[in-house]
Symmetry: C2
Subunit: 422 residues, 2 copies
């Protein structure tokens, strides 16, 4: 039997050592590694598919459900997308080493900040081979070492991908240990990974709420994470009706299973009778179930997929064609509801009123706050970060979509000329 | 007997409620509160001294040592300094609400970030009444609510100060619960404070290494902290001799008890014989004990306070007129030593060599890295932050001296015109 603790400590020590080399790696070397990995993935597409077939066969035999099988599958298109993703990361500016705000102080020293890698990033994710490559790419570009622990059902594919990543790193003169995958499927490995702060600086868990809640209980390493997305759209009585219809429909129906999908619609009572009926027409075409409070239920009495909302609905992430609907007195009541029930992910107001728009932006305490735009925009690519390692609902360090910058830190740098403290 | 858990939960719930009002408080109201508190402190100086006398009498009776008694004492000068400190915080720019980097995306939305308060800050500190006022001032200005748990020996004085703070908050129309002090001296209160993440967003512990190490074991709320400061100065063989002498003397002897004081001096072997003897002359006048490795000991054989360094010395924070001294081959050996033994607080290189200066800045993984300047500059005031709530040796969130900005977070804001995700 394998000694998991010893194995994980060895991975950690190797990662820590590699992180020092990665921190000083120049931009050209990091980009070269990424390009080499992309080329190797294209070259070995057939072998990757074969490794994936082994995983798929085992997963089917163990009765994996269709949605998970779909994410485990590495199609030709998925392989091409992985390679393209790496090339996109090549095109992003290198965040490392940037020096900002160098200011002279009255003492004569000049003080500013330099952006530096965090060190070692642990990533825990489900059986999705594309995450292996995306995460490795982001960590390489940001000068970090990483330990990847993907779902055990993807182990063959992940091993094949790790081999190509190491080949690319070596080809660029970078340490192969900069990207390591956990080669054991033993779950104890996760327990070790999240409790070795001496080797791991931050954990990015990607997966279901249950997994993340469990990790939060046990982790001693800080995490960049979100548990769920209970996102709200508030239609103010000063809303433009067409914008309200467009956004409220898109925020719910563009995709049901994503964390930035609207789960609760709040409507000002002054506009509810005008906006809810035409909006319900749009939802009806998609067979969206509307769980309404009593005021909304009166207006939508004839809606075919109507249900009565219960207290539980206000804090439920449906991830399905289901929407909670509540009529509120005004923006104050809307913000009070949001501050009570939101998971602090993303909220939007639809209004043409200047003062209310500014109040909503300032007073709603969520990672993303929007005026007249769909909550579905809360995404690293849509925000222009170029890539996304995850989304944080926490306030410390990174908040909202997390790109390369979230994998870095700022240290103070001081240029002196022999100055001493008086 | 008091139910500490219930009491602390009540403080937490009040703080959370007050934090919502503080987050939207305008700059004028926050500044007015700070000015009113400063005026009240000056007005009630005699009453504050009387409260302090009660604390001092009890502390003396229980045999408190002189250094702690000194910090507990609220002299007329200390009272004036507290009031002035608040007025300095008034003059700092309000960090809250600042919107930065608003950029249009190809979809038509405009995306940027807004600086917002963290929410509720818990501060745990020793029996130093001035920290009560400093910390309250910084939290008010940054739009946070705070729960202050000062050393129990200062309880009378802290209660008197808290009364004035609440008077100032009320006078400015802000909730009195924005600043609460823990009124019980029961130690269990600290245990509650650090384990109620539902009410407290971050803990700033200020105090000895023992206290902070203990809090780290038990806290479930994130902390902004540092354990110790094992700071290094490396004198390169391309150093300017005078700068080397000035900085190495100042970094050790300006103050012995501070976390940014140099504890280990590294000297390149190419310059050791030239720089160590004149430097030792300076240290000798201050009776600084030099714990030398064998190479340094040969050069300093005649030094009256010479000792042999042991392995333990390289990781000891003396906080005293004691210095570990090691001769190293070159900058690579110096950086390897620093990366192995440093507490990642502050390190300086003394060199006139351009490439080595840049390498040191980039490759040394500490919160502050300096060229040709004394480590004693690692300080919020010296860096121009205007004030300092603490120093962080961690990489996530705030690193190095932490001012108002460290008590804030950035949320994403999106200005739309009805855009939906395609």
């Amino acid at each position: 039997m394998m000694d998991i603790k010893h194995y994980m400590n060895d991975l950690g020590a190797r990662a820590r050592a590699a992180s020092r080399a990665m921190a000083k790696a120049d931009t050209a070397a990091k980009n070269r590694a990424l390009s080499l990995i992309a080329a190797a993935i294209r070259r070995d597409a057939a072998a990757l598919r074969a490794a994936n077939e082994l995983d798929l066969a085992a997963a089917k035999a163990s009765g994996m459900e269709a949605a998970m099988l779909d994410r485990l599958t590495l199609s030709d298109k998925a392989i091409a997308t992985m390679a393209e993703g790496l090339e996109q990361i090549v095109s992003l500016a290198d965040p490392i080493g940037e020096i900002s705000n160098m200011k002279y102080r009255p003492t004569g020293i000049q003080v500013g900040q330099m952006r530096v890698p965090l060190g070692v990033i642990g990533i825990i994710y489900e059986a999705r081979p594309n995450v292996t490559v995306d995460a490795a790419g982001l960590c390489i570009k940001s000068g970090n070492a990483t330990i990847l622990r993907g779902g055990s059902e993807a182990i063959h594919c992940n091993q094949a991908l790790a081999k190509l990543v190491k080949e690319g790193l070596a080809g660029a003169g970078l340490p192969a240990d900069a990207v390591q995958i956990v080669e054991t499927t033993d779950r104890a490995a996760v327990g070790e990974l999240i409790t070795m702060p001496q080797y791991v600086d931050v954990i990015v868990p990607r997966g279901g709420k249950g997994l993340i809640a469990r990790l939060m209980q046990e982790a001693t390493v800080p995490m960049i994470k979100h548990l769920d997305g209970i996102c709200h759209v508030y239609i103010d009585d000063k809303a433009d009706l067409q914008k309200a219809l467009d956004v409220a429909f898109n925020a719910k129906c563009h995709r049901y299973g994503t964390c930035n999908t609207m789960e609760t619609l709040l409507v000002a009572e002054g506009i509810a009778a005008r906006v809810l009926p035409p909006l319900a027409k749009l939802y009806e075409a998609k067979q969206v179930e509307l769980r309404c409070d009593s005021a909304a239920a009166v207006i939508l009495a004839d809606y075919p997929y109507l249900a009565q909302a219960t207290e539980e609905d206000w804090s439920t992430e449906y991830l399905a064609p289901v929407l909670a609907v509540k009529v509120v007195a005004d923006i104050d009541a809307a913000m009070a509801h949001i501050n009570d029930y939101s998971s602090k992910h993303t909220e939007a107001i639809i209004t043409e009123d200047y003062s209310r728009a500014l109040r909503f932006l300032r007073e709603v305490d969520s990672a993303s706050v929007m005026v007249n735009a769909s909550t579905r925009f809360a995404d690293g690519f849509e925000y222009g970060l170029g890539a996304e390692i995850g989304i944080s609902n926490d306030k410390l360090h990174a908040r909202g979509p997390v790109g390369l910058e979230g994998l870095t830190s700022l240290k103070y740098v001081v240029f002196g000329h022999g100055e001493v403290r008086q």
